[in-house]
């Protein structure tokens, strides 16, 4: 039973409340994930620490700092998706945030909350990994940086330690000419979570691949990236046959899960299809 509800005004207050609560405490930001988990009896915190009143410069805002876009952890997915900086420099992330659930969810859910939940069936993590994003994590002991690629470690599991809060997300501005995209494939009702999500970013020079990132979400416990496959595609011609080779490589290497959105067999098929589409889309954008 929830006995205590805290609404600290800054991150320091939240960290103290979290430390005080120990195992009994849970952070609640937008609540779109946690409330469902409580409803379904998956977690039963007795202390909730809400971040809705946190007014901390680290936790809010989207801004350009040098060659990095800093996104406050408390920004909603709707705000991230709509922000001009994100739309212009990180279109794949904007699209991933724009495709989550429905407008009611996006207006509540926060980017840090999304990462902290570490739900495999989610859109933003794959896009953040594709963009080489890093989380700034704070605790009473100080702060540290964790690349999103290493943050999510398994099904609803992550590298956060007890007492830590994701304060902000830092995304390097891609090199000029890079185009990123996110393709969400839904197998059921249109507001469902992804069956397969592909985040791709691509930079081509003179018709050949200069830099390529492909991350597949929602198909395994963690966002899937295969550097060897990407390395093999680098310096190849920026053509559909290269995209096909990348797609085939991923389809062979990903060990997809089975769930209500699709069997492993189906996901393998769709990984192949969606990677080809994502890369073709990124290539089309980067050639414009």
């Amino acid at each position: 039973m929830i006995g205590e509800f805290h609404r600290p005004g800054d991150l320091a207050g939240a960290l103290e409340a979290l430390a005080d609560a120990g195992d009994e405490g849970k952070i609640i930001a937008g609540g779109t994930a946690l409330v469902l988990m409580i409803e379904q009896g998956l977690v039963a915190p007795s202390v909730l620490i809400s971040l809705d009143r946190v007014r901390d410069p680290m936790f809010s805002g989207v801004e350009l700092v040098g060659r990095t876009i800093r996104i406050g952890g408390g920004e909603t997915l709707a705000a991230v998706a709509a922000h001009p900086l994100v739309r212009q420099a990180l279109p794949g992330l904007a699209e991933a945030c724009r495709r989550v659930g429905n407008v009611r969810i996006r207006n509540r859910a926060t980017l840090a909350g999304n990462l902290a939940e570490s739900d495999y069936a989610s859109d933003p993590p794959a896009a953040l990994v594709a963009h080489r994003a890093t989380c700034r994590v704070v605790s009473l002991d100080g702060e540290r940086s964790v690349p999103v690629e290493r943050l999510i470690t398994g099904f609803y599991e992550n590298a956060l330690h007890e007492g830590e809060i994701i304060a902000e997300i830092l995304v390097p501005v891609p090199e000029a000419g890079t185009r990123s995209t996110y393709v969400k494939y839904i197998s059921r009702s249109s507001e469902d979570r992804p069956c397969v999500g592909v985040a791709a970013s691509l930079r081509t020079t003179g018709g050949t691949v200069a830099d390529i990132r492909v991350v597949v979400g929602a198909v395994a416990g963690t966002p899937q990236i295969f550097p060897d496959v990407l390395a093999a595609a680098t310096a190849q011609a920026a053509t559909p046959s290269t995209w096909k080779a990348v797609a085939a490589g991923y389809a062979e290497l990903v060990e997809p899960l089975d769930d209500a959105r699709g069997s492993a067999w189906y996901r393998t098929r769709l990984i192949d299809v969606m990677i080809r589409r994502a890369l073709a889309e990124a290539a089309e954008k980067s050639s414009r």
Binding site: R188, S189, S263
Partner: protein, 748 residues
């Protein structure tokens, strides 16, 4: 023409914004909140129930088990048709979700929290989820007293199906599968009970107040007059609130604890209370080379779930509807329903029809393709028409399938085109028709009461679920009395004042209660005519009907108000009645007789887009038509036609209750998928088909008619687009892709 005929319901805005009084908003001073402790196992003996810790929990007033509710040492049981469902499980549980104890507390939260403190010791028993297994000798028996898991079997024999099959040019045999689905009404089941002396008043979100009254009285061993059932606006039902569910436990708990009690189910509990009948339909059809159907054999097995509810009769209704809207001279149907350790099944919009329509309309397109006949043409060859004998032996009349087929095919063609097809996508159209009997026999009565101020009030047991039943009754009463609609009100259903009505379901209210309202209005008019004649000193036959009163021979006018005043009355009532006879239980052993007072007729045509690489199906355009006899409100008929098609998308493409180890694994709206607004067809259209002028033009209900044909029409369109046939619902992209693969693999 009355202006309201094209207008939306006057309370439409208040309804969709939740500002009307729904049952969910009802409170009783001093009430306790109830929460149910439910079985986590599919089949088990209950060794013991320890309520001590829960009883000591803060805010908890009592924790009651079957023993505490027992009357005369006997545990309470209930059921609308067969009393096989314990009010609280006493010796065993039969499905995951079976209520074992009820916690009563000062707050809902305290009641829910304390449920986990009730310690039930279960001794697991083998369980069975699939009715095919449950009918075998080796299956665990659910109800020892019943002796078998077969709840009911119905047979229909018309002509000689096997001989005709043997003589047919071609025969086709297929099996079509429909899983269980959940109704997902926005308002959950919610009920309150208050005792005054030996009388109990139950307020509940139900489609059948009089049935609840009878069932609660029987369950609690009370004379019927001791039970009063009230209802307000119901916030959605789709069949989930036809059968009695939570009312007996609420009434019994309130009696035991001596305080009013309220129970509101959570969304998860909704999934564990009542569901659609899963069905497996084996269909064999023999045809001549010209497409004429000469024989049809249908074998259907329904999953009744753990308790009977109305499933025994429901299987009979399924039997009657199995042959489809075709003139088939030789028919054999066997319809069996079996207990399993799953959620009790009950009516689900398009009940005991969608599962069969899925089979016969899908198979018909395969036959047409095999014979090289157009799908519309093969229907024309076989359609039921006036004067034809239905397989129950009754001679059919007022049939309109030719018009329905024309309406949906030309209606779809005339809709604006969908956005252009993209490479890698296939597109085609599909059509499907349906026939549905209505609950027979049934009875509807009402009282139409004219008050001293000249306004009328209708007392009816028919329930307003948002479908417009009360608006339609208002229109009919106002037209029959010659009053403006604003002078007619409908009182919320209350069995203490409204006479008997069978139920607001089976698409029967417009027809049955509508007839009762018109009867009541006619009787009221005659009473008033007599009073007016006396007051005016003239003969009643010399008084002509006029708006809101009568006109005399000398063109003098007298209003209802004046009639009452001059007669010294403060009100005047007309009691209206409508009843049907015959029906399911009057049929002979071969299913021959008069099965239905009338037949719901409808059809849809759809255009779908199939993405070949993913198997994803999108319905682009849909056009529905239903037989409305005499349309009372064009806007509501249209809304029902369109709403039915949208509702039908769910079971066709997304919805399925999935069981693993006897547990539903998707009892929430994250995992159980209903269509979202983004899944709607891009374009919708519809037609109401009316009876020709001159004959008896009765208003017919249209609340379900476009639901059953949606899945087969979509399946037929997929077939036309890609050459594949899906025979199991829902038609998920994965199922479509696998079938496309198989089809590609089978090509040389």
């Amino acid at each position: 023409m009355n202006q309201s005929n094209t207008a939306r319901m006057s309370d439409a805005r208040a309804r969709v914004t939740g500002r009307l009084p729904f049952v969910l908003n009802e409170r009783i001073p001093g009430m306790l909140h109830a929460a149910l402790v439910r079985s986590p196992v599919p089949h088990a003996e209950i060794r013991s129930v320890d309520t001590e810790a829960a009883t000591a929990s803060p805010g908890v007033v009592a924790v009651l088990t079957a023993e505490d509710l027992a009357a005369g040492g006997e545990p309470l049981v209930f059921g609308d048709a067969r009393q096989d469902q314990p009010v609280l499980a006493h010796d065993r549980v039969r499905y995951v979700g079976d209520p074992v104890a009820v916690v009563l507390a000062e707050t809902r939260r305290a009641a829910i929290e304390a449920c986990s403190l009730v310690d039930v010791d279960y001794a697991d028993l083998p369980h069975v989820v699939d009715p095919q297994e449950s009918v075998s000798d080796r299956a665990p028996l659910l109800h020892a007293a019943h002796g078998t898991n077969v709840l009911a079997t119905w047979t229909l024999r018309h002509g000689d199906a096997e001989t005709a099959m043997a003589g047919a040019d071609r025969c086709y045999e297929d099996t079509y599968v429909s899983p269980s689905a959940s109704h997902v009404p926005m308002e959950p089941h919610v009920a309150l009970a208050r005792w005054t002396g030996g009388d109990v008043e139950v307020v509940t979100s139900t489609q059948a107040p009089h049935v609840v009254k009878e069932t609660v009285a029987r369950a609690l061993r009370l004379p019927g007059e001791r039970v009063r059932v009230r209802c307000r606006n119901v916030g959605g039902a789709y069949g989930a609130k036809v059968v009695t569910t939570i009312e007996p436990v609420v009434a019994a708990a309130a009696r035991a604890v001596g305080r009013p009690v309220r129970l509101e189910l959570s969304r998860a509990e909704e999934f564990h209370t009542v569901c659609k009948h899963a069905a497996r339909v084996r269909i064999r059809t023999g045809v001549r080379a010209d497409g004429r159907i000469v024989a049809r054999v249908v074998d259907v097995l329904w999953n009744a779930g753990a308790y009977a509810t109305n499933s025994a009769d429901a299987a009979g209704y399924g039997m009657v509807r199995a042959p489809g809207p075709y003139n088939v001279p030789n028919v054999s149907v066997t319809s069996t329903t079996a207990y399993t350790n799953t959620v009790p099944s009950g009516p689900f919009r398009g009940a005991m029809t969608s599962q069969l329509c899925w089979a016969y309309e899908s198979q018909l397109d395969d036959i047409a393709a095999d014979l090289g006949i157009d799908p519309v043409e093969i229907r024309r060859v076989n359609l039921l028409r006036d004067g034809d004998r239905y397989p129950t032996g009754e001679v059919m009349k007022d049939l309109h399938y030719d018009e329905i087929l024309d309406a949906v095919t030309s209606g779809l063609a005339d809709l604006p085109p969908a956005p252009p097809r993209r490479p890698g996508h296939a597109r085609a159209t599909g059509v499907a028709l349906v026939i549905k009997s209505t609950q027979t026999p049934s009875r509807s009565e009402c009282v139409l009461r004219l008050d001293a101020d000249g306004g009328a009030e209708l007392l009816t047991g028919s329930v307003e679920i948002g479908q417009g039943a009360h608006a339609t009754m208002r229109t009919l009463a106002a037209q029959a009395l010659g009053l403006p609609e604003c002078r007619v009100s409908v009182r919320p259903p209350d069995t203490a004042v409204a006479p008997y009505d069978s139920l607001t379901a089976s698409s029967r209210t417009t027809f049955a209660m509508g007839a009762a309202v018109e009867d009541a209005a006619a009787r009221l008019r005659e009473k008033l005519r007599g009073l007016a004649a006396t007051a005016l000193g003239t003969d009643p036959s010399r008084l002509q009907d006029a708006p809101g009163g009568f006109s005399g021979p000398d063109a003098s006018r007298v209003t209802y108000e004046e009639i009452l005043r001059r007669s010294g009355l403060d009100h005047c009532e007309g009691h209206g009645r409508w009843a049907s006879t015959g029906g399911l239980n009057s049929l002979d052993a071969d299913g021959q007789g008069s099965a239905s007072t009338h037949w719901h007729q409808g059809g849809v045509a759809v255009e779908v887009d199939v993405e070949r690489e993913t198997g994803k199906v999108r319905v682009l355009r849909a056009y529905g038509a239903s037989f409305s006899g005499r349309t009372v409100s064009p806007v509501r008929v249209s809304q029902q036609n369109n709403g039915g098609m949208i509702f039908g998308l769910g079971p066709a493409l997304f919805e399925e209750l999935v069981y693993e180890d006897g547990q539903i694994v998707n009892p929430n709206l994250s995992d159980y998928m209903i269509p979202s607004v983004l899944d709607m067809p891009i374009l919708l259209g519809d037609s109401a088909i009316e009876s020709p002028p001159g004959g008896p033009r009765e208003p017919h209900g249209v609340g379900e008619t476009t639901v059953p044909p949606m899945a087969p029409a979509i399946g037929n369109a997929i077939r036309a687009a890609c050459g594949i046939r899906i025979r199991e619902l829902p038609m998920t992209p994965e199922r479509v892709l696998r079938t496309l693969d198989q089809e590609a693999g089978s090509q040389p």
